[in-house]
């Protein structure tokens, strides 16, 4: 049976040899402005940036925008990478900065318009049932009430399972500040969630109440 021409998903050339080079070599390629290094950096770190952004923002579409911004800035600022072997940390620091900036501008947009950011939620929308989706929408609406810094600390701790000191290093905050913000954000969100009628009984709870 003949196979009519079909629309193959676009595949970009990242040669197999580049896929096995070290982060340091990719970093050096990036500093030199080589296009393979841009592609390789994307393939290695975009999944990390995309998932972190999607969990923090509650929107896959916005996460994609954030990722584009992160890697575009990365390309422009590649020459500031002093330790090529720390490429992963370099990328992550860009992601955090862009996320913080996005959360701030979102907050500003929320003040200046009637736009409600939670309406943009599209996490797991293909597979979740209506109730769970509604629950997540309300959760992210609660997150929107936190300050960008508190929200980021909250997301990195509870959604990315980062330790307090890792969060402190990523956000350039002292551990005590991180702990203070984390306690504040966690308490507020927990209270809000518990106050939702029937919420606690709607989800399977995980064992233990501490992390």
């Amino acid at each position: 049976m003949p196979l009519p021409r079909s629309d193959i998903p676009l595949t970009l050339a990242v040669t197999a040899s580049h896929r096995h080079v070290s982060d340091a070599d990719v970093g050096r390629g990036l500093i030199a402005g080589q296009s393979w290094a841009i592609a390789e950096t994307w393939h290695r770190f975009a999944p990390m940036v995309l998932t972190t952004a999607e969990r923090a923002l509650g929107s896959r579409a916005e996460a994609q925008d954030v990722a584009q911004e992160v890697f575009c800035r990365l390309y422009r600022k590649a020459r500031t990478l002093r330790e090529p072997e720390s490429l992963r940390s370099f990328v992550f620091s860009f992601a955090i900065r862009v996320l913080k900036s996005e959360l701030r501008s979102r907050k500003t947009r929320g003040w200046l318009s009637f736009h409600r950011p939670e309406a943009l939620l599209d996490v797991g929308s293909d597979t979740l049932d209506v109730e769970s989706r509604d629950l997540l929408r309300r959760f992210y609406a609660r997150l929107d009430r936190l300050s960008p810094e508190d929200r980021l600390v909250f997301a990195l701790r509870h959604l990315e399972s980062m330790t307090v000191e890792e969060i402190g290093a990523a956000l350039e905050l002292s551990t005590s500040t991180v702990k203070r913000r984390l306690a504040h954000g966690t308490a507020r969100i927990s209270r809000m969630l518990e106050s939702e009628v029937g919420l606690a009984g709607r989800l399977p709870t995980r064992g233990g109440g501490t992390t």
Partner: protein, 488 residues
């Protein structure tokens, strides 16, 4: 690093459940999403750089006096008039098009009509010349489309017949060629590609540079180096890779002479490494030495002998280097195999295995090495060895992602084995049950559908076609699935 104790942080059960749900729901991007994102990134970088240059010019312009601006405007008018005259003179035999500021092209021997189709006027084919030096030629009778031309590069589709390309290397332009169900990705190279929709035969002859080929047969990107020719026969699930003379005889401009060479049919499920000095007739004789029905297990010695001859003829290079001694460590071995795979030097991997022994290699190789070995064996049509490597992958690394890949690839191996289609279906079933949305889910379902049609007829394959269209409406086998749905 000292871990700060943050255990005092109380997390309510509801919060824990919600965060668990989010972590479960947010999945890493698929390969297609990543590729699409990278394409968007390249476009954005191009645009940003272009905008930066324009801003620079604008800032410079603000310091100009109005008199200077007037002089420049007059000059620009004169230049524009001159360009218009040139364009008018060009129309008739060719047309000039600028789709993006950085990339423009002219057409000879035809024109670009609605939908990007290249319409031939005469019998000499259509030739496109781009302003940065790249050229492509559709051979007489071939049918193709120009899908996009922009700052990031160009994308073209060859729907039938043969086309030749000479692409100027550039870090800023990405060239993509859809050839039937295959996608050829290229940065700078000279190659000829052909697709026959009737016989579902794909052929690519690479004379210079490197290209990556992805499609329904390769089980991932297949990277080719200069001088290699790949022929894929989809109905027979055969991939034939041969060595050509590479740049020898390559001309700067694509010509119709390429068509004759490119039309050599695949003759059986064997891969032949042809020395640069050999003629095509000698290659055919060499192929005839290896009967297609010969059990794969009996071919290694013959293959190895051929490799040694090739190394001697070449005098140097990776093949001769590989026989110089054992790798000093597993890491060295892995790196060497990576390089061999990247360079398409599969014989080097098979040589190493032959030297070290199959059993020892299968017992000691890493999961990455086993997959490399399996691919090398597949490309060289040593299906028994490929099957053993893939089975070892599953047995030794049962929870790894590569073990899943191996499950799918075992299906491909069985498909290429006489009487193995039913076994292939079982492997695809196994893969789909373990990884319903895995990397090869679309391919596994598509192949299963095709095999079911061949084995049991359209009525049994139709439910699979329906499922395929529902799950992968833009997938490689969507056309086949639609045809199956229409079949009586």
């Amino acid at each position: 690093m000292t871990r700060v104790d943050d255990r005092e942080l109380e997390v309510s059960p509801a919060l824990g459940a919600v965060t668990d749900l989010i972590q479960e729901q947010v999945q890493p991007p698929t390969a297609a999403e990543l590729n699409e994102g990278l394409r968007a990134l390249f476009h954005r970088i191009e645009e940003t750089e272009g905008q930066g240059q324009r801003d620079l010019r604008d800032r410079g312009g603000s310091r100009w006096s109005w008199r200077r601006a007037f002089v420049v405007a007059c000059g620009a008018t004169i230049v524009a008039a001159a360009v218009a005259v040139l364009v008018v003179k060009t129309v008739g035999t060719s047309s000039l098009s600028t789709r993006a500021s950085e990339l423009a092209y002219s057409v000879e021997g035809g024109s670009v009509v609605a939908g990007g189709y290249l319409r031939q006027v005469g019998r000499g084919g259509v030739k496109l010349s781009f302003n940065e030096g790249s050229q492509l030629a559709l051979m007489p009778g071939a049918r193709g489309r120009l899908l996009s031309v922009n700052a990031g590069g160009a994308r073209m589709a060859v729907e039938q017949g043969t086309a030749s390309f000479r692409i100027t290397p550039s870090a800023h332009h990405l060239w993509l060629v859809d050839v039937g169900p295959f996608l050829v990705t290229v940065k700078g190279t000279v190659f000829t590609v052909s697709w026959d929709a009737g016989s579902e035969r794909f052929e690519l002859r690479l004379r210079r540079g490197r290209v990556a080929v992805s499609g329904p047969i390769s089980g991932g990107d297949l990277e080719l180096r200069a001088g290699q020719r790949v022929v894929v026969n989809l109905p027979r699930a055969e991939t034939l890779i041969t060595e050509d003379a590479g740049e020898d005889g390559a001309t700067d401009s694509p010509t119709a002479n390429d068509v004759g060479d490119a039309a050599t049919p695949a003759e059986g499920p064997v891969a032949v490494a042809k020395t640069p000095q050999k003629t095509r007739q000698e290659t055919r004789q060499e192929k005839s030495v290896v009967p297609s029905a010969l059990p794969a297990a009996s071919t290694p010695a013959l293959s190895a002998g051929r490799v040694r001859r090739r190394g001697a003829a070449a005098g140097a290079g990776p093949t001769s280097a590989s026989s110089s001694g054992r790798p000093t460590s597993a890491a060295d071995s892995a790196r060497r195999w990576d390089q061999a795979m990247a360079g398409g030097d599969w014989d080097r991997i098979l040589d190493d295995v032959e030297r070290d022994g199959v059993t020892a290699t299968l017992a000691g190789a890493s999961d990455e090495e086993l997959l490399a070995l399996a691919n090398a064996a597949r490309y060289r049509r040593r299906m028994d060895l490929a099957r053993e490597a893939l089975s070892a992958e599953r047995r030794r690394f049962p929870s790894s992602r590569r073990a899943l890949d191996a499950t799918y690839l075992l299906g491909r191996v069985e498909e290429a084995t006489t009487g193995g289609r039913a076994r292939a279906v079982r492997w695809y079933d196994d893969y789909l049950s373990r990884a319903p949305s895995g990397t090869y889910a679309s391919e596994a379902l598509g192949r299963k559908m095709t095999l079911m049609n061949e084995l049991n007829g359209a009525s049994r394959a139709r439910p699979l076609a329906e499922e395929y269209l529902r799950r992968f409406p833009g997938g490689s086998y969507a056309g086949s699935a639609q045809a199956l749905m229409r079949a009586p």
